[in-house]
Subunit: 319 residues, 2 copies
DNA sequence: TTCATAAATGTAAGTGCTTACATAAATTTT
DNA sequence: AAAATTTATGTAAGCACTTACATTTATGAA
C-alpha cells in the first residue's frame, strides 16, 4: 500500500524510489569494498573512473563531465588527495588550472577495484536484462522530451490550465460591489492617479453600469472574486470594454483570457456589433491580450473621453 | 560526450541523471509556488499530500508511508508546524504517538495548491506520454527483480566471478617459497599453535613436498601470490591434500574453490585414485568446501598422523 | 508485578551535495 | 595598455537528508 501511495505521487515519487535504489546500490558497493579491505568510498567512483580513463584533467573539466558543480568535484578531489590517490599539478599554459592525475597508489587501487566495478556493471546489466527493462532508453527518451520543452514550461502550461478550469465567470450581483471596487482600485492606483471620473464609475457600478444597460462579469476562484470586466452600453450596436482587472498574484495564468472570452461572448449575445476600449501603452500585457483577441487601434470617440489624458490607446473589434 | 561518458558508468549515473531531473522538477515547482505567492516548499509536498488524503497520521506512520526515516518526517513536521500548516495532538490509547493533522490554514493552502499539483501531474504524464515512455513500469520491473535477489547478492556474485576469473593457478616454483610459508603460517597461527612438524613441512617445501613426489599449486591475483594448496604423495595411488591457504582479505570470493578444482584435476592427471586430507572441525568453511567437492570423513591413517592431536577430522575422496 | 524488549519520538552531529560569495588569472573590449 | 568580463578555483554556510544515541511509553514473558 505504501508502494501504491507513492505511485500516486508521480514522478517526484519515482525519483525518490530511484534515489533509494541508488542508495542501496551505493551502500552495497561500500560493503563490498570493506569486505575486500579496500579503502575506497563509493562517491569517489565516478571521479576516479573518469580520471583513470582520461589520464589528466582539470577540476572544472571533471565537474563538467560528471554533471556536478565544481565545488562537489573539489571536495572529492581534496578527499582523494588526502588519501594520496591523486596528485595535483599546474597547467603550464594556464596557471589557474589544477590538473589532476591518479598517483601510483591510485593506479594500483584502480587495479584492485576493477573487478568490483566490473562486477557491479554485470550485476546491474543482469538485473535489467532479467527484468526485461530498458531503463536507459526510457531516461534517454525523457531527456529528449525535455529538450523540446522544459519541465518549467510544461508545469506552467498545465498549472495554468488547472487554475483557469477552476475559475468561474459569473454575472455581477450587488454583493460583489466591494470586490469590484477593490480589484480595480488596486491596479488603477498602481499605474495611475485615480481621477474623479474613475471613481464615479467604479464606486457606483450598479447605477453607472448596470442600470445604464451595461454588464459586469465577475471571475471567481476558490469562491473568491479574483477578476472583473465590464461592458458599458454605448449604443444599441456598440459596447465599450472597461474595468478589466485580475488579482495580482493570479495574473499570468490565463484568467484575463478567460474573462475576455466571456465578455466577447456576452457582447455578441447582446447584439453588439462593435466593442471598443481605452487602454494605455503602459499596460503592455493588456494591450497584447486585446490584440490577441483581434482588437486593433482606432480613433472613434469614446464614452470615457476624458480618460484620454492618460495618453490612452483606443482600440476596437468588429464582432 | 558528457552524456556518453555518464552512460558508460551504468546505473550510478542513471540515478544521478534522475536526481538532476528531480532537482529541476523541484526547483520549477518552487518557482511556480513563488509565482503564485504561496508560502510552500516543494519538500513538504509528499507530507502534506499524504496528510490531506489520510486526515490524521502519527509521525512514524507518515515516515513509513513516505519511505523516509522518522527523523526526516519529524523535521518536515516541525517546519510545517512552525508555518502553522499542521497541528499536533496525542493519541489517547498510546501516549507516545504524535498525531498530525492539517490545520485550517493548512487545508486552505492545500486548496490553493491543488491546481499546482494537478498541473505537475499532468505535465509529467504529458511528458511521459509524449516520450512514449513507460518509466513507471520499468521501475516496477526493477523493484520486482530486486525482490528476487538483492543488489548486494547480485554484486557479490558478479564481483566474485570477476575476481576468480582474474586468479591464475600455477605450479610451485622455488621463488614462491616465502609466499607459501607466509600464507600458511598466517592461518596456522590464527587457529593453532604452530608445531615442529608443521614447521618442517612448511619451511622446506622443496625438500619435503616436491622432492618427495608431491605437488604445490599457487594462486595469483594481480601478480601477487594469494593462495596455495599442496598434495603430498602418500603412495602411487594416494595423495594427501594439505596447506590449503587463501589470503585473508580475499577469502569468501571462491578462490579456495578454484584451488580445489585445480588440485583435484592435478591429482587425477597424476594417477591418484584417492585423495585424503586432515582438517579440523574448527575450520568450518574449509570442511564445507571439502564436502562440496565430495570429500567424506574417513579413518584411514594419515601421513601427518601426529596432527591428530588437533582433534582433527580425516576426510577422503575417491577420484 | 517486574523486568526485558520493542516502539515512538526527539536531538545532535555527520554527509554529500548545493548556493553564494571571494580571489586570482586569462581574455576581450575599448 | 587599461578596464571590463569571463574562467578556474577555493571557502563558508545552508539544505535535506542520514546515522547514532537518548528518552519515554507500551507490551510480553516470567
Amino acid at each position: 500500500m505504501n508502494r501504491n501511495y507513492i505511485q500516486e505521487l508521480g514522478i517526484i515519487a519515482i525519483a525518490s524510489r530511484l534515489k533509494q535504489l541508488t542508495e542501496v546500490l551505493t551502500k552495497d558497493m561500500a560493503k563490498v569494498y570493506s569486505e575486500l579491505h579496500v579503502d575506497f568510498e563509493p562517491r569517489w567512483f565516478t571521479f576516479v573512473h573518469l580520471l583513470k580513463k582520461e589520464g589528466k584533467l582539470s577540476l572544472t573539466e571533471i565537474s563538467r563531465k560528471l554533471n556536478q558543480t565544481h565545488v562537489a568535484a573539489n571536495q572529492v578531489a581534496n578527499a582523494l588527495e588526502k588519501a594520496k590517490l591523486i596528485e595535483t599539478s599546474r597547467d603550464r599554459n594556464d596557471n589557474r588550472k589544477r590538473l589532476l592525475t591518479l598517483s601510483t597508489k591510485g593506479q594500483q587501487l584502480v587495479e584492485e577495484l576493477e573487478p568490483v566495478w566490473k562486477g557491479v556493471e554485470n550485476a546491474v546489466d543482469g538485473l535489467l536484462k532479467e527484468a526485461g527493462s530498458n531503463l536507459f532508453e526510457e531516461i534517454e527518451k525523457i531527456e529528449t522530451g525535455l529538450l523540446q520543452k522544459s519541465i518549467y514550461e510544461r508545469i506552467r502550461e498545465n498549472v495554468n490550465a488547472e487554475i483557469v478550469s477552476r475559475v468561474k465567470i459569473i454575472s455581477y450581483k450587488p454583493v460583489y460591489k466591494h470586490a469590484f471596487i477593490d480589484l480595480n482600485l488596486r491596479w488603477l492606483e498602481k499605474y495611475f492617479e485615480v481621477e474623479p471620473h474613475d471613481k464615479k464609475l467604479l464606486f457606483n457600478p450598479d447605477e453607472e453600469i448596470i442600470e445604464k444597460g451595461g454588464d459586469i462579469l465577475i471571475a471567481t476562484y476558490l469562491d473568491e472574486v479574483i477578476g472583473t470586466v465590464a461592458i458599458l452600453k454605448v449604443s444599441k450596436r456598440v459596447g465599450e470594454l472597461t474595468k478589466m482587472a485580475v488579482q495580482e498574484n493570479l495574473q499570468g495564468h490565463g484568467i484575463g483570457h478567460k474573462l475576455m472570452e466571456s465578455a466577447i461572448l456576452l457582447a455578441r449575445n447582446k447584439g453588439y456589433k462593435k466593442l471598443t476600449l481605452l487602454t494605455s501603452p503602459r499596460l503592455e500585457k493588456a494591450v497584447n491580450l486585446y490584440k490577441n483577441f483581434g482588437f486593433s487601434e482606432s480613433h472613434e470617440p469614446s464614452l470615457l473621453l476624458n480618460n484620454l489624458d492618460r495618453s490612452s490607446i483606443q482600440m476596437e473589434i468588429i464582432l
